[in-house]
C-alpha cells in the first residue's frame, strides 16, 4: 500500500516536470505580450516530433545523441517561436487582443498540417533515453530511471528561470514590461527585441517540455490540443504570469492525475466508481474549484490591463430602417434559393444558418457582454443532446423535442454561468473552457445514457419536415428569428446595461446596475439560443457525437466571430458564412484543408485587423455608402 502511494507520487512528480515547462513558457509569453498563445501546444508537439527526428540523427544509442537531440529540438522550436513572433504577431500587437488569439488559432491549424505533411499521421514511438533505460527499485517496486531524471528537470528549470528573471537585466526588463511595456519603451528599451526574446524563451520551454516527453509518449498529431488545454489549466490554477505558481499547479494537477489512474475502480456503497475515468476531468474540476475560491489562481495577483493596449469598444450603430431593409433583402434572397439552387446548396445553407446563430450567441457574450467564452460549444452540444435524448428516451415528438434543446442549453448556461460571471477576462474564458470540458467528458463517458463516444443516431425530423426544402425554411426561420431577437436585445435597456457593465463594471455598479446578475442572465440567454442552434443541428444531421461540444467546436465559434469582427453586430454572421463555406469547400478538395484555412485566416488577420464586417464598413464609409458617424 505505502509502496503504491510512493510510486504514484513519484509518477506524479515525473509528469509535473513537462507540464511545468510548457505552462511556464505560456505564462511568460502572456505576461509580456498579453497574447494567449493557443499555438503553444503546437510548439510542444513540434518539440516531440523534432526530438524524435534529431535523436535518430545524432544517434539514439549514445547519451550525447539523446540529450543533444532533445536540446537541439528545443532550440529549433525556440527559433520557430522567433519566426512566428517576427512574421505574424509583431504586426498585430496593436490589433484588439482577441484578434491576436485568432492568429494563434490559425497557427495551430498550419502547424498541425505541417506536422502531418512532414511526419505523417502515424504515431511515432520514440527511443528510450540512452544511459537511463533501466529501472531502480523503490520499496520493492520498479521505477524507471528516466522518470527520476524528469523529476529533477522541473526544479532545475524553475531555479534557472528564477535566476534569469531576478538576477539579470533582461529578466528585470521582462518583469517591467509585463506591467507596463509602453513605459519600458519610453525609457529607451526596444520592445521588439524584448518580445522576440520572450517568444524564444517561451517557445524553447514548450519545445523542451515536449522533447523530454519523447521516451514516455509517442509523437502524435492530437498532442497540440490536449497539451494546450492542460497548459492553460496549469497557468490559470497557478496564477497568470507567476512561474512559481505554474510549478505548484503542475505538481498539484500531475499528482491528482497520477492518483486517479493509480486508484482505478473503487466500489463505494455497492456502486463502482471509476477514478481512472475521472482523470479526463480532474484537472478541470481542480481549476473550477481554485477559480471560485481564489479568482486569480494560487499565486496570482489581480492583473490590471496592460498599459498602452487599452482599446475603447466603439458603440454599435443603431438598428435603423436601412438596417431592417438590408435584413429583409437577405431573407428574401435566401427564400428564393430553393427555386434555383441544388440540394447540396440547401444543406450548406442550413449549416451556415445554424452556425450563424451559434456565432451570434457567442458574439452576444464576447461583444456586448464582454465575456469571452472558450467553451461555448458546451451549450450547443447540450442543445444537441437535450433534443436527441428528449426524442429517443422520452419519446417526445420532434417538435417538442426541439424545445428541449434551448432548455438544455439555457439550463447548462444558468448553472455554469453562475460561477463564470464571478470572474473576468482570461480567467473567465478558462473557466468556461473547464465547464465545457467537464460536460464533454460526462457525455463522452456515460455510454448507457448518451451513447458515449459513438453518440446518438436516428434523429430525424417529423414527417412534414422530411422534405429538404421545408426543413430549410423551418431552420432558416428559427435561426433568423433567434439572431434578430438577440440583436434587438443588444439595443434594449437590458443590452445597454450589459454594455455599460462591460465598459466599466465599477461605474455601472455605482449607478445601480447589478452587473453580475445582468451578466448571468446574458450568459443564460446566449446559452439558450446556442442550445437552439444545437437542436437544429442535430435534426439536420440525423446523428450527433460528443464532438458537438468538444474544444475544436468552441474554437470554430471563436474563429467565426473574430473573423467577422467582434466589434460589429453583423460580423459574426458573415464570419460564420465564410468559415463554414471555406471549411466545406476546402475540405472536399484537399487533405490539407486545415493549413489552407489557417493561412487564409492569417492573411485576413494581417490584412484586415478589424474583421470582414469592419473592413466592408470601412470601405463603405470611404466610398460614401455609409455615413461617417459623428465623433
Amino acid at each position: 500500500m505505502l509502496a503504491n502511494i510512493v510510486i504514484q507520487f513519484m509518477n506524479g512528480l515525473a509528469g509535473a516536470s513537462s507540464l511545468f515547462l510548457v505552462a511556464a513558457g505560456l505564462s511568460i509569453i502572456f505576461g509580456v505580450s498579453r497574447i494567449v498563445n493557443f499555438a503553444h501546444g503546437s510548439l510542444y508537439m513540434l518539440g516531440v516530433y523534432l526530438a524524435y527526428m534529431l535523436v535518430e540523427f545524432f544517434g539514439r544509442s549514445s547519451i550525447f545523441g539523446f540529450w543533444g537531440g532533445v536540446l537541439m529540438a528545443a532550440l529549433c522550436v525556440g527559433l520557430i517561436g522567433v519566426v512566428i513572433e517576427i512574421v505574424v504577431l509583431r504586426r498585430i500587437y496593436r490589433a484588439p487582443e482577441l484578434f491576436q488569439l485568432l492568429a494563434t488559432f490559425a497557427l495551430v491549424l498550419v502547424i498541425k498540417d505541417a506536422a502531418l505533411y512532414i511526419w505523417g499521421a502515424e504515431d511515432l514511438v520514440g527511443p528510450r533515453a540512452a544511459g537511463l533505460r533501466g529501472a531502480v527499485e523503490i520499496l520493492g517496486k520498479r521505477f524507471p530511471q528516466y522518470d527520476l531524471a524528469l523529476i529533477a528537470i522541473g526544479p532545475v528549470v524553475l531555479g534557472l528561470l528564477w535566476l534569469l528573471m531576478n538576477r539579470t537585466r533582461w529578466g528585470t526588463l521582462v518583469r517591467a514590461a509585463t506591467q507596463d511595456r509602453e513605459m519600458v519603451g519610453a525609457l529607451g528599451v526596444n520592445q521588439s527585441g524584448l518580445f522576440t526574446g520572450v517568444f524564444f524563451l517561451g517557445a524553447f520551454l514548450a519545445g523542451l517540455g515536449g522533447a523530454v516527453q519523447l521516451p514516455r509518449e509517442p509523437a502524435q498529431l492530437a498532442l497540440d490540443i490536449t497539451v494546450i488545454s492542460d497548459a492553460f489549466v496549469v497557468v490559470v490554477v497557478g496564477g497568470m504570469g507567476s512561474i512559481g505558481g505554474a510549478f505548484l499547479a503542475a505538481l498539484l494537477i500531475a499528482q491528482a492525475k497520477a492518483f486517479c489512474i493509480g486508484i482505478g475502480d473503487v466500489s463505494i456503497f455497492g456502486t463502482v466508481f471509476s477514478f481512472s475515468k475521472f482523470t479526463l476531468v480532474v484537472e478541470f474540476v481542480i481549476m473550477a474549484v481554485v477559480l471560485v475560491v481564489r479568482p486569480w489562481g494560487l499565486l496570482g495577483k489581480q492583473q490590471g490591463t496592460q498599459r498602452g493596449t487599452f482599446m475603447v469598444e466603439p458603440p454599435l450603430y443603431p438598428l435603423n430602417r436601412n438596417f431592417w431593409l438590408a435584413v429583409l433583402a437577405v431573407v428574401v434572397l435566401l427564400g428564393l434559393v430553393p427555386f434555383g439552387g441544388d440540394g447540396y446548396l440547401l444543406v450548406l445553407l442550413i449549416d451556415i444558418a445554424v452556425f450563424a446563430l451559434f456565432a451570434v450567441t457567442l458574439h452576444f457574450l464576447m461583444g456586448p457582454s464582454g465575456m469571452v467564452s472558450f467553451g461555448h460549444a458546451a451549450y450547443f452540444g447540450l442543445g444537441c443532446y437535450g433534443a436527441a435524448l428528449a426524442l429517443l428516451k422520452l419519446k417526445l415528438p420532434m417538435e417538442l423535442a426541439l424545445f428541449a434543446a434551448p432548455l438544455a442549453g439555457g439550463l447548462g448556461a444558468l448553472v455554469f454561468g453562475w460561477f463564470c460571471v464571478r470572474l473576468s477576462g482570461v480567467y473567465l474564458a478558462m473557466l468556461t473552457l473547464a465547464f465545457a470540458q467537464i460536460a464533454w467528458s460526462v457525455i463522452y463517458q456515460w455510454d448507457a445514457f448518451t451513447g458515449g463516444s459513438n453518440g446518438l443516431v436516428g434523429l430525424w425530423p417529423s414527417e412534414w419536415l422530411k422534405d429538404r426544402t421545408v426543413f430549410y425554411a423551418f431552420a432558416l426561420l428559427l435561426c433568423i428569428g433567434g439572431i434578430l431577437f438577440l440583436w434587438r436585445v443588444v439595443h434594449a435597456p437590458f443590452g445597454y446595461a450589459l454594455r455599460a457593465g462591460r465598459d466599466s463594471a465599477l461605474r455601472a455598479d455605482a449607478i445601480g446596475i447589478n452587473v453580475r446578475r445582468f451578466q448571468w442572465f446574458g450568459f443564460t440567454l446566449a446559452g439558450t439560443f446556442a442550445g437552439l442552434a444545437g437542436g437544429l443541428f442535430a435534426f439536420s444531421k440525423g446523428s450527433i457525437s460528443p464532438e458537438t461540444l468538444a474544444v475544436p467546436r468552441s474554437v470554430d465559434g471563436l474563429v467565426m466571430v473574430l473573423l467577422g469582427g467582434v466589434q460589429t453586430l453583423t460580423g459574426p454572421v458573415a464570419g460564420a458564412a465564410v468559415f463554414t463555406w471555406l471549411q466545406d469547400s476546402i475540405a472536399r478538395n484537399t487533405e490539407y484543408w486545415r493549413a489552407i484555412l489557417g493561412l487564409t485566416i492569417l492573411v485576413i488577420v494581417l490584412a484586415f485587423p478589424q474583421g470582414i464586417a469592419g473592413f466592408t464598413k470601412q470601405v463603405a464609409t470611404r466610398i460614401g455608402v455609409m455615413r461617417r458617424e459623428a465623433a
Binding site: 537585466r169 528585470t172 526588463l173 518583469r175 517591467a176 509585463t178 506591467q179 507596463d180 509602453e182 513605459m183 519600458v184 519603451g185 519610453a186 525609457l187 529607451g188 528599451v189 526596444n190 520592445q191 498599459r307 498602452g308 465623433a631
Partner: protein, 233 residues
C-alpha cells in the same frame, strides 16, 4: 535644443493639439502652464512619441524625432517622466532604476544609483522596497530618478507637483533647480503657478490645445490679465 512646430495631435477624431509650437534651449527650465484638459500631457506624450503627432515637426538636438518610436527618442537623450508616475510596482527601487539605465552620454550628466540617492536621500533608505509599497511622494522621486538613469540631455516633467504634500513640493522645486545646475534642460508642465515661479525661466500658457501666451516668468508675474484669463480657476 527642442523645437516643436505646427504640432497637430488627435485622439481618434478629437483634435487635441492645434498648431502648437514651443522651444526649449540648453540650460533652461521651461514651463507649460494650463488648466486641466488644456493639452499639457498630450504635448509631452507627443514629444516622446507615445501619442504620435498627425502633422508638425519636432526637432531634438538637430534631429527630427516626430516619426520616431518612443524608445529611439529616449535613446537620443530625451527623458520622459509621466504624470501618473507609472512605477513598476512589482519591481523594487534598484530594479526600477535598472530599467531606466542607459549608457553615459556626451554633453549630459551621468547618473548612478549612488548619485541619485544623494539627490533623493529617501530612496537610498528603501533600495529593496517594491514600488507598490511606496508613498506618492516617494514614487514621484523614483519616477524622476528612473528617467535620470538614462542620462538625458533634456527631461520632460509632466506635473511633478500634482498630489504632493507642500513640503514635498518644495523639495521637488529644489531638485529641479539642482538638475538645472547640472546642465539639464527641463520642460515641465504645471497647473501650479506658485510652483512654476520657483523653478522656471520661461512660460508658455496652453488652452484648448493652442499656445495662448509665451514670455519670461518675470513678464508673466506682471501680467495679471493673462493670469486671470488662462490660469485662475
Amino acid at each position: 535644443m527642442l523645437t516643436v512646430e505646427g504640432l497637430n495631435t488627435y485622439y481618434g477624431r478629437a483634435h487635441i493639439l492645434s498648431d502648437l509650437a514651443l522651444k526649449a534651449t540648453a540650460g533652461e527650465v521651461v514651463v507649460l502652464l494650463g488648466r486641466n484638459g488644456a493639452g499639457k500631457s498630450t504635448t509631452m506624450k507627443s514629444v516622446i512619441g507615445l501619442v504620435p503627432a498627425e502633422t508638425g515637426g519636432i526637432t531634438f538636438d538637430g534631429a527630427r524625432i516626430d516619426r520616431q518610436s518612443p524608445h529611439r527618442i529616449a535613446r537620443l537623450g530625451l527623458g520622459y517622466v509621466p504624470e501618473d508616475r507609472r512605477i513598476f510596482t512589482d519591481l523594487n527601487v534598484m530594479e526600477n532604476l535598472e530599467v531606466g539605465r542607459q549608457k553615459p552620454r556626451d554633453g549630459a550628466p551621468t547618473w548612478t544609483p549612488e548619485r541619485l540617492f544623494e539627490l533623493f536621500p529617501n530612496l537610498g533608505n528603501m533600495k529593496d522596497r517594491p514600488g507598490g509599497r511606496m508613498s506618492g511622494g516617494e514614487q514621484q522621486m523614483l519616477t524622476i530618478a528612473r528617467t535620470l538613469m538614462g542620462n538625458p540631455r533634456l527631461i520632460l516633467l509632466d506635473e511633478p507637483s500634482e498630489g504632493l504634500a507642500p513640503v514635498i513640493v518644495e523639495q521637488m522645486a529644489r531638485t529641479i533647480l539642482q538638475l538645472k545646475a547640472e546642465g539639464l534642460c527641463v520642460l515641465l508642465s504645471e497647473q501650479n503657478l506658485h510652483f512654476a515661479q520657483m523653478v522656471a525661466d520661461r512660460a508658455y500658457i496652453i488652452e484648448k490645445g493652442r499656445i495662448r501666451y509665451s514670455g519670461t516668468m518675470a513678464e508673466l508675474a506682471t501680467d495679471a490679465a493673462v493670469r486671470e484669463q488662462y490660469l485662475s480657476v
